[in-house]
Symmetry: none
Subunit: 231 residues, 4 copies
Amino acid sequence: MPPFSSDPCPFRRRRKDARPAELLEAALALFVEKGFAATRSEEVARAAGVSKGTLYLYFPSKEELLKAVIQHFMGTEIETGIQEAAAADGPVAEVMETLLVNWWTRIYEGPASGVFKLMITEVRNFPDIGEFWVERVVAPGHAIVSGLIRRGIDRGEFEVDDVDSAVHSILMPLILECVHKHSFMACGIGKEIEIDPIAFMHAHLKLVFRGMAARPPAPAPAGGRKAGQAA
Amino acid sequence: MPPFSSDPCPFRRRRKDARPAELLEAALALFVEKGFAATRSEEVARAAGVSKGTLYLYFPSKEELLKAVIQHFMGTEIETGIQEAAAADGPVAEVMETLLVNWWTRIYEGPASGVFKLMITEVRNFPDIGEFWVERVVAPGHAIVSGLIRRGIDRGEFEVDDVDSAVHSILMPLILECVHKHSFMACGIGKEIEIDPIAFMHAHLKLVFRGMAARPPAPAPAGGRKAGQAA
Amino acid sequence: MPPFSSDPCPFRRRRKDARPAELLEAALALFVEKGFAATRSEEVARAAGVSKGTLYLYFPSKEELLKAVIQHFMGTEIETGIQEAAAADGPVAEVMETLLVNWWTRIYEGPASGVFKLMITEVRNFPDIGEFWVERVVAPGHAIVSGLIRRGIDRGEFEVDDVDSAVHSILMPLILECVHKHSFMACGIGKEIEIDPIAFMHAHLKLVFRGMAARPPAPAPAGGRKAGQAA
Amino acid sequence: MPPFSSDPCPFRRRRKDARPAELLEAALALFVEKGFAATRSEEVARAAGVSKGTLYLYFPSKEELLKAVIQHFMGTEIETGIQEAAAADGPVAEVMETLLVNWWTRIYEGPASGVFKLMITEVRNFPDIGEFWVERVVAPGHAIVSGLIRRGIDRGEFEVDDVDSAVHSILMPLILECVHKHSFMACGIGKEIEIDPIAFMHAHLKLVFRGMAARPPAPAPAGGRKAGQAA
DNA sequence: TATGAATGAGGTTTCATTCAT
DNA sequence: TATGAATGAAACCTCATTCAT
């Protein structure tokens, strides 16, 4: 019992506290890069600057590490999205544009983008992490966007046949951009047809909003049928 | 060399000829389901109804099997798409609608849909198969659609700011549907927000074509309503 | 029962009769080159111009093939040596020189040289083939040479302390030359210190015979001690 | 990196340091006994008292283990021979006798004797280890002996037609004795004609030295007896 | 008699996990 | 708390042998 041993080694203490997060980051990066099965647990440990054994002090198995990774990097961005969506006001298309651009730029640039790929590659091997993901990320995200679309319809700004389909039309390219970032783009393949993800996001939203936009009330062309769109 | 036997064993010969395709099908299914690294080569063999050793009579290693799978299931659907696109005539939106619905339904329902997932999960481990994929599938597919869009612009049917972005807006949801089929949908997760892929395809194309449709020449800006939407 | 079917196919019949010998030759060459364990039975078959299955029509297993190889290539040269040794007459050193040069040249150049290496590499894995070898090759060979040395001693031509050691001094370099031919020399290693095997055989025998030669009866140099050699 | 532990685990450290040598010894014994291809890597591990996996902590593959074995057990005895040869003085036959007996007894009794057999059995499969062996063992050994013979010639003690051949006559039986120790002798075959290796070494050297010894200047060709032997 | 497709035991190698220090 | 040597189950792959043709 030495008098000053209440915090025997502040340096190591700080390391210790940071360890789980460091390991989770390293694990995310490697699982996204190589896939869960092809990543050796020692690689994760080394990437986090610790030894094999230390990993097992924090996570009881490689599979539990995967689940911890998913949970750790999952919900954060979605929640901020929900709050922003609720807080915003004004013309819905503008609100959505602002919201989606901010929100998705953060997602695309942060670790969450990797989780999209990880979920796709690993759900069938670990279905329970999928349940969690849908409940905590996919469903809320879908709800935010469909809520906004419905608000636009109510306000007469949008004309949309099938709101759920429209949500998919809006979000799926954004999701696939995230996946793309961690697959083809990460190994420099397909540069010929690659486009800047942020520029694409703007162009995509513009196109989709134009597709959802309410038409002017058909100024007066005799027969009352609206001019509609082609297909 | 027995002197008089041009076809020494027709039965075995027929099995031998069929084996590679059987193995490739089994391999595709398992690689898509579990990922390359998590699939044991004996599983592939058993799924094809042969023993471990037989697999190695036809493919020198598990990695070569993967490459053969990609090559085998890759380009076929794209080529039919190209021909149909060239042959079709009429209003571009209708042509595209017909083409994409037929083409993508075949892709979605056939083995090619799995290859999309497989490519995403494995490119970073086997970059050379990615090169091939982009060159033989992604680039031609992109070219078909951008060609049609440009034809629509030339004919005055479409107004599109950025053709390449529009191609992505059109195709990415279709691709992600394929991936989805083999990830979440395959393990019955996320049913709440799942939508019928064919119905979605129609709704998606309708929305996007509406977003690309040329506007009537603005009959006369009488009333102060703003015609378009913000972004 | 067609009238002329007693020998239905003279060509194949001839092939069939030659098969075992062809297989044994191919097997010897490969076993000597790579060792028994490292030689695949299909390699033997292919080298003999037949298929894997055919090998098993003539030899029930790879191990039996090895035993057959030993037996086939073993004793022949020894027997001719014995006959020549018995038939020869004249000064023993001359007889031995002639005998050994002829005999060993045939052995060195023929397949028997390989069997020396094969025995060395495989006895410990297949001791029973060793018994056979010693009884049929080593012991008779030793007996021929020791018989000749003893004849030389009896005739006053040789002075030899230990006949068995002298046999080893004579034969071991010849044996090792055979082994060398199939190890280092076969892969072109050690050319710097390599010597022509036939030239070496002559030089070696000359040196050894000089070492065994009877000394003249010490002409008369006062004190009866003979000048002798050092060691 | 724990801050204050320069030698974190002395016990394990000591085992780790000893492991490679233990594994190399076990590997040499087994490779010499059964041949490289017929030895299972697990056998090597078990013989060294560790598990299969541990072997691969120290050597990346079975083939690398073989190379390490060769390098580890190769050159040591040769170097002591060189030094002793340089240091010795006196009548060359005596010097050589002493040197060769001491030197070769150590070689015969030590692990180097096994390496002779190993080289013979494996050069053709791994030619690069042969280069090393010739350069580091065969050539220096040859040089020691030929140097001594030349010294004997210079001093008028020896008369030798072909020095290189004489080196072979001297060394080849010694080498073959080493090989013999690990082939026939090790499985108790051929006892009838087996001789004590040390006794043989003495007898062999005596015979060869007698064959190389300078003749007295032919005191006076008085009596008609012919002095030498034919060949 | 000859073939070569097929098998599966067995070999080499990897890697998640444990545990003594 | 941290290490890394050690383990052994399990993966990939080979090859002796069989057998339908």
